[in-house]
């Protein structure tokens, strides 16, 4: 029983962080048809901005987190305006944007390294204490991460399913020309998606930094995992990304417990490869994304 609780808490905490990151990636793929290789950098930027606001400006947590999220959203918007929009109409966009965002990620990592060095700072966002369940200590920090993820995923779900903006994002993802013919300003939709993706990455990064440490490359591993989740879910399927993130986090925790930390991820990848052979378009995916 203790083991089950331990694995569940650990797995669901991972799931929450992966879900936010993967949903951001899935949105950009769905709407723009782009693989954003700078998504991991967005995680790091959000974390470092939050760290700086707290340590340099002395802002409280309730102010620092929203500020960091908004600034990361603006970074996403700027990336759209300065890079994505300039490349978007070219037929080679899908390849060019991968190169451009890899460059952006490296630039971001080196800029952070120049300003903060490689010292693994701790994010000064700690929720002390916890409670015991069947003898297992469960930190409030993990519960906060999971609760925040569920709330944010719910908000993204409401945004996409119930609002006019969300319907415009979904319509653009499904067919850009049809969305335009309904009067949807798709350029504005792309900008909104990049901003939302930046915000979600920041939350994910801040969460991650509270249970590990800050580092310029802290977003790389979560980004790879988010890509895997997005591919297994089916590129561009936001709801699918959420469910696969939950499964992925839980499986990772189970594998870590069963096979050890070193073997868990490679074994998980084997499972991913098998699932992609079985379902090449992912579990929830459609065959293609139209971008013209």
């Amino acid at each position: 029983m203790e083991t089950v609780i331990l694995v569940l808490v650990s797995g669901l905490t991972l799931s929450g962080m992966y879900a936010l990151s993967a949903i951001g990636l899935s949105l950009t793929w769905g709407a723009l048809g782009m693989l954003n290789m700078a998504h991991g950098a967005f995680l790091a930027v959000g974390s470092y901005v939050c760290f700086t606001i707290i340590t340099q400006l002395g802002a409280p947590m309730w102010l620092a987190i929203p500020m960091a999220v908004i600034i990361s959203g603006l970074v996403g918007l700027l990336v759209y305006l300065l890079i994505v929009r300039q490349m978007f109409r070219h037929p080679a966009f899908e390849t060019n944007i991968i190169i451009a965002t890899i460059g952006l990620a490296i630039l971001s990592e080196n800029t952070i390294l120049n300003f903060f060095g490689a010292y693994p700072f701790r994010q000064p966002l700690v929720i002390e204490g916890g409670f015991r369940l069947s003898g297992i200590f469960i930190p409030y920090q993990n519960i906060a991460i999971l609760a925040s993820s569920v709330v944010l995923v719910g908000l993204v779900g409401i945004l996409l399913g119930k609002t006019r903006t969300g319907r415009a994002i979904r319509a653009t993802s499904m067919n850009k020309d049809a969305a335009l013919l309904m009067g949807v300003p798709v350029g504005q939709v792309y900008a909104q998606v990049m901003a939302v993706s930046g915000c979600l990455a920041a939350v994910s990064g801040i969460m991650l930094s509270t249970i590990t440490t800050l580092s310029p490359t802290m977003g790389d591993a979560p980004m790879v995992k988010a890509f895997i989740i997005v591919a297994v879910a089916g590129l561009g399927n936001v709801y699918g990304a959420f469910f696969i993130a939950i499964g992925f986090g839980l499986l990772e925790a189970i594998f870590q417990f069963t096979f050890g930390v070193r073997l868990a991820f490679p074994l998980l990848l084997l499972l991913v490869i098998a699932s992609l052979i079985w379902r090449p378009n992912g579990f929830f995916g459609s065959a293609t994304i139209l971008r013209n």
């Binding site: 020309d177 335009l180 009067g183």
Partner: protein
Amino acid sequence: MGESFLTLKNICCGYNSVDVIKGVSIDIPRGAVVGLVGPNGHGKTTLLRAISGLVRLRSGSIKLRGETISELSADRVVARGVAHMPQGDLVFPQMSVRENLLMGAYLPAARADSAKQLEYVHNLFPKLSERTEQLASGLSGGERRMLGIGRGLMTKSELIMIDEPSLGLAPLMIEHIYDVIRALKAEGRTLIVVEENVSRLTDLADELHLLDDGHVVWSGGGADLMSDDVLMKTYLGG
């Protein structure tokens, strides 16, 4: 017929380096029904895409009610009152029928009247009212066509452009779609219909334009075209 409503003046456009429309001028009065006919791949669909702003002009101009719209993006052309129901319907597959229809009322002017418009579309296509919560991906070809046209009508546009309304449909469904088009004509809407089967337009259209290789090679009434054996054999396989 009313005053000039839509004016295409010597327009040229295409894709990448290929010119598809090579200098087309058409004047459409308000309330007219205009048919675009001609062989496949000679520019009918591209002409509609140019009017709705999906394809940029290389030269020439398009004016709607005297205002130049050829510089506007497609979303702004819709806001001026142009509904384009494209070939292949382009419904949103992962949205319900209702959500698809409401996307037609995305712009504020249409949204204000969306409930009334929804009722109007349901009256034209009662089948859609039985399928409101069904995903568009699960609809039959005929139902998708109804949804595509219904969604376009939700925009409350004055100018309605329908690309190949009968393509791939069973005869009964074609009749139903053309009954709706006749109803739209009776309401006084301005219509442009692209159609492979000329006979469907002969009684309906006030004027037909025959497109060949990006040029209008003939314009006139449906009966005139049908009785011209040379034109029919040369361009329309008849």
